[in-house]
């Protein structure tokens, strides 16, 4: 069976049975996804890559701690989430950085674009997401930008699925209120 046909969980089992080299496949599968996720919290590319490396090393070291009956993707995102939070605490930074087109996702879902020009809107969305508490930021980012399901977010953040829905709804409402105020001020 080719490596690409194996599930993450199967790969982990093979690595634990002494084929360390197969960890390369895990790195290939998650490097882009986790970079994308970490980039939301860490703007500097070098710093983000350092954190990403730590995530992969910690994941490898703790492979025996992974329960193969659970989803590997949620587990590795959980480690990335913890590292991102640690980095933010260590550096006392609190910013959110969206890709050029990502803010449009929020704009579409919340639909408050109004009269604000696009450049201004991106900045305002970044600023206002950063103003939210981390407990609202993370579900919003995972749901809207990382395309994670409620179930996966629940696994990553270790909170009940119903709470994920509540946090996303509340976060969205707060963000919408903030953005509407900004819209008024610019109106």
């Amino acid at each position: 069976m080719a490596n690409t046909d194996l599930s993450d969980e199967q790969i982990v089992e093979i690595i634990l049975n002494n084929d360390k080299e197969l960890y390369r496949e895990i790195i290939r599968r998650y490097q882009d996804k986790l970079s994308h996720f970490l980039r939301k919290f860490i703007y500097d590319k070098d710093e983000m890559e350092d954190v990403l490396q730590v995530v992969f090393i910690k994941t490898y070291k703790n492979l025996y701690g992974f329960d193969v009956h659970r989803k590997f993707s949620s587990w590795i995102y959980r480690i990335a989430h913890n590292e991102a939070v640690n980095f933010l605490k260590k550096t006392s930074r609190n910013g959110i950085f969206l890709d050029d087109l990502e803010y449009k996702i929020i704009d579409e879902k919340i639909d408050i674009c109004g009269n604000i020009d696009n450049k201004m809107l991106k900045k305002e969305i970044e600023r206002n997401i950063a103003k939210l508490k981390i407990k609202y930021q993370e579900p919003l980012i995972l749901f809207y930008f990382e395309d994670r399901s409620y179930e996966e977010i629940s696994d990553i953040l270790r909170i009940p699925k119903s709470t994920v829905g509540t946090l996303i709804a509340r976060g969205k409402k707060m963000l919408k209120n903030h953005l509407e105020e900004t819209n008024k001020n610019h109106g």
């Binding site: 634990l16 360390k20 080299e21 960890y23 390369r24 790195i27 290939r28 490097q31 882009d32 890559e49 990403l52 490396q53 992969f56 090393i57 490898y60 070291k61 703790n62 492979l63 025996y64 701690g65 629940s154 696994d155 270790r158 909170i159 009940p160 699925k161 709470t163």
Partner: protein, 286 residues
């Protein structure tokens, strides 16, 4: 080589060279076992301490002071088992923290789990009051045979300690304006303030509020108690005076109060030799 490939190679080099190794599965097993054991221990101790708290409130004079009004409330606060409450809260917090860390709480609402845990601890602690466990712990605390007993004495010992604003014990002698009572610390003189009277008779239990003045206690209010209302005080008195039971001890002058532990042996030996108790007290205490 592109950036992505560089990162991949850097990580795989570290793994290949052995600089980054898998943590042993036994470490994870030990962590899991340790977490489980620590959780079980925290819950058990929280249950025990809640049980001891109920036991203390039921068996000492603490709650009885509340019937004296404002001054009684101060005596209640003075004799309240703060250490037991603090230990109980610490063990509940520890159990909650360990529960949150364990797999059992994975994706479950922590608030509900915490409420369930507290209810369980309180029910289990309440059920334990139907057993003799707290009484045995108290006995061990005073026998000092096990380190655990000494540990618990630190928490329940306050039940029989001298209080500044309240006193309880068994009447040993009744005078015009005073009572001599047996307490777990020894004989104490209660001076009755002007206007305060007591109908208590020898052998009856009394509880009073007031102030310590030197070695005497000046009572503002005094009441009799039924036997069994403060059993821990009664057991404290037994422990203190049992060696002399069966001896005919007549009235003692007030200067013989505060019957200290180190002098007990002297008095006991003197009693055993058949000398009059008052003479024994005079010899040993003066």
């Amino acid at each position: 080589m592109d950036e992505k490939q560089k990162l991949e190679n850097s990580i795989m080099d570290k793994i290949g060279s052995g600089r980054v190794k898998l943590r042993s599965k036994y470490v994870f097993l030990a962590e899991k076992l340790g977490l489980g054991t620590a959780f079980a221990l925290s819950v058990t101790l929280a249950v025990l301490f809640f049980n001891l708290l109920l036991f203390y409130l039921k068996e000492t004079d603490n709650l009885k002071y509340l019937s004296f009004g404002r001054f009684g409330f101060l005596a209640f606060l003075e004799s309240f088992p703060y250490l037991l409450v603090i230990a109980f809260i610490i063990f509940i917090i520890m159990a909650g923290y360990l529960l949150a860390k364990s797999d059992a709480s994975y994706k479950k609402p922590f608030g509900l789990l915490a409420v369930g845990l507290i209810i369980f601890i309180m029910i289990a602690g309440g059920v334990l009051t139907y057993t003799e466990i707290a009484k045995k712990m108290e006995a061990e605390a005073y026998l000092g045979r096990h380190p655990a007993g000494t540990f618990f004495k630190f928490f329940v010992g306050g039940g029989t300690e001298t209080r500044r604003l309240g006193i309880a014990g068994m009447v040993f002698e009744v005078g015009d304006n005073y009572l001599i009572i047996e307490t777990p610390q020894g004989l104490r003189n209660i001076e009755l303030k002007e206007g305060v009277s007591s109908q208590a008779e020898k052998g009856q239990f009394v509880i009073a509020i007031g102030n310590n003045e030197g070695q005497d206690f000046v009572a503002k209010e005094i009441r009799t108690m039924e036997k069994g209302e403060a059993p821990m005080i009664e057991r404290g008195i037994d422990r203190r005076f049992k060696p002399f039971s069966g001896q005919e001890v007549k009235s003692l002058p007030p200067h013989l109060f505060l019957f200290e532990e180190e002098k007990k042996d002297c008095v006991k030996k003197c009693f055993d030799s058949g000398i009059d108790p008052r003479e024994c007290f005079d010899q040993c205490m003066r």
